[in-house]
Point group: C2
Chain length 323, copies 2
């Protein structure tokens, strides 16, 4: 952390995004790439991604019998969900009731796509630094005919842990972190936010329910309100860290769906990961490059230091304080 | 690949780096952060990283007996190696004899640090886009008291493959790719470059010897000359792809060292990985973000398409052609 930085400096995110831009395909009333016109929506708005990475009818690549050359068809659907009709708002500046609507829609998406697909990945790429190509607040949903690598690993580790230790791994983990406090960022009646013990991104966090919950639709109404509240508090702290709309990629991991809906998946615990790239300031990011790609991810500050920084930040958004 | 790009656009790399800058700590004759003065070197130059991520005397973190909270001391050394006295040159523009000196130094480093450390990671972060903070041509060497995650995985997979199939995995793989041709980018008497079947980065390549070789020091003089030649050809093609000094992270994986030097490591095959971030142009990169971090890496073009693009490019550097 002591080395001088003469490397790449990021441009700050645009701070003058117009509230409504008729040429932005994510805005109410805009025409999208496929010619469809968006409704004049006033809350969330869901549509099929016009440039989907997964398609329901992807061709079978055919089979090669050699063990080194194996491939399979990857089928699925990709959707986009706008969080709000305004382009110049972000989750931490939305009202808890508005965030609650996003959460309800996430749960609905798992219910709608879960029966068909074993994995429904809800994720948000926020900020140009995280490859986001549109400032309008939105997330994506990619549902696939297969269990992708990361959830497959989470499935195996959680299954083994329950077998070996008699308690779901992340339930035990949450309890221990709530006790230890040192990596805790936020808590309320139903949820915890920690900088996980194994964090690799500088200000990475893990959002966990206290109760054993398998999937988003299982959350009670109270737990959803409480989730909206803790999300707003976390994202406000994130924005306050460098007084910038904080970039990150985030997403939900819950028990696999499809045929797994009928299986005992009690080794799973619902959680969300937040992976922010920023390190020292609004313009110096953490590069996961040579050593990280070829050998092992390495941290520039400890999770305890990161948690302490985040704990110390105000829960009032700097843009509101400034007014 | 069809979606319009309105996201982050990268600045082109600086094209007017001065050949010599007395304030650049990597130049001959400069004073470094620790007060040492670099010699007036005229070939490669090796020194200890003034801001090392690994240190030989890192304290022991102490032990926690809970399975979820395990940590160990990570000890090691970090070195930097300049490739050339000039700041305005890069490997593809260097003479084969100059590249050969870099290769010899790499081999020496494995011989020097190998007996003490089980893993010696040689890697180059090239370009600001890959977190490189100094344009002077250089690479890094981080030797560690432990086998990092990626090599540990490579160790396990190659060991299992040899046991099961009776031939080192990457030796068999190289033979099959040389036959199939469709992912082949370059070949000579001793080496192959392919876009690997499992490539995730758009123009990722794998550099492999044809012969069974465990580590860099095992390369014959002829094989080293031949390596210098194929590196120059590959990196020239990379630069020619978008007519820009092509950013990447690259590094070597050979059989682990330390106590493994005395063991049978014949399941290993030496290889180098090249991971370039560029996708469609000199300024549009591939973002490994939401879906990739949370679910699975996904390709924007097939390895066969990438190999075909690279095969079609000239082996004369665009800067030389322009003269
Ligand atoms: O050591 P450097 O060049 O200062 O730093 C660069 O390479 C390191 C090893 O891949 C990374 O951890 C840093 O994020 C990156 O900026
Ligand atoms: O789908 P988008 O927002 O166009 O694209 C973004 O997210 C995708 C999923 O993480 C990535 O594959 C792309 O590299 C990134 O630019």
């Amino acid at each position: 952390m002591k080395r001088p930085w003469k490397g790449q400096v990021e441009k700050p995110p645009e701070d003058n995004v117009p509230r409504h831009d008729p040429n932005n395909p994510l805005c109410p009333g805009s025409t999208r790439a496929n010619g469809e016109v968006n409704p004049e929506y006033d809350s969330t708005f869901l549509f099929e991604n016009d440039f989907p990475a997964l398609q329901p009818d992807a061709p079978d690549p055919g089979s090669d019998h050699h063990p080194l050359f194996q491939s399979k068809a990857a089928r699925g659907v990709c959707k986009v969900m706008c969080f709000h009709p305004w382009s110049d708002i972000t989750l931490p500046l939305m009202q808890p009731e508005e965030i609650r609507k996003v959460i309800d829609k996430w749960a609905e998406l798992i219910e709608e796509l879960g029966p068909t697909y074993p994995w429904v990945q809800i994720f948000e790429n926020k900020g140009a630094m995280m490859g986001c190509s549109n400032p309008h607040p939105h997330c994506q949903v990619w549902a696939s005919s297969f269990l992708p690598n990361e959830p497959a690993l989470a499935e195996r580790c959680q299954r083994e842990y329950l077998q070996k230790h008699g308690e779901p791994m992340l339930l035990q983990y949450a309890r221990m972190e709530a006790q230890a406090q040192e990596r805790l960022v936020l808590e309320n009646e139903h949820w915890l936010v920690v900088v996980p013990y194994w964090a690799t991104w500088p200000f990475q966090t893990l959002l966990l329910p206290r109760r054993h919950v398998l999937r988003l639709p299982d959350l009670t109404s109270q737990e959803r309100d409480s989730l909206a509240s803790i999300m707003k508090r976390l994202l406000t702290k994130y924005d306050n860290l460098f007084e910038v709309s904080f970039p990150y990629s985030m997403g939900w991991h819950g028990a696999p769906t499809g045929s797994h809906l009928k299986e005992d998946m009690s080794h799973w615990q619902l959680h969300a990961h937040y992976y922010p790239p920023l390190l020292r300031s609004a313009s110096v990011r953490k590069f996961m490059v040579g050593y990280e790609m070829l050998a092992q991810e390495q941290r520039d500050l400890t999770p305890e230091q990161a948690a302490e920084r985040l704990r110390g930040l105000s829960e009032e958004h700097y843009k509101i304080t400034a007014k």
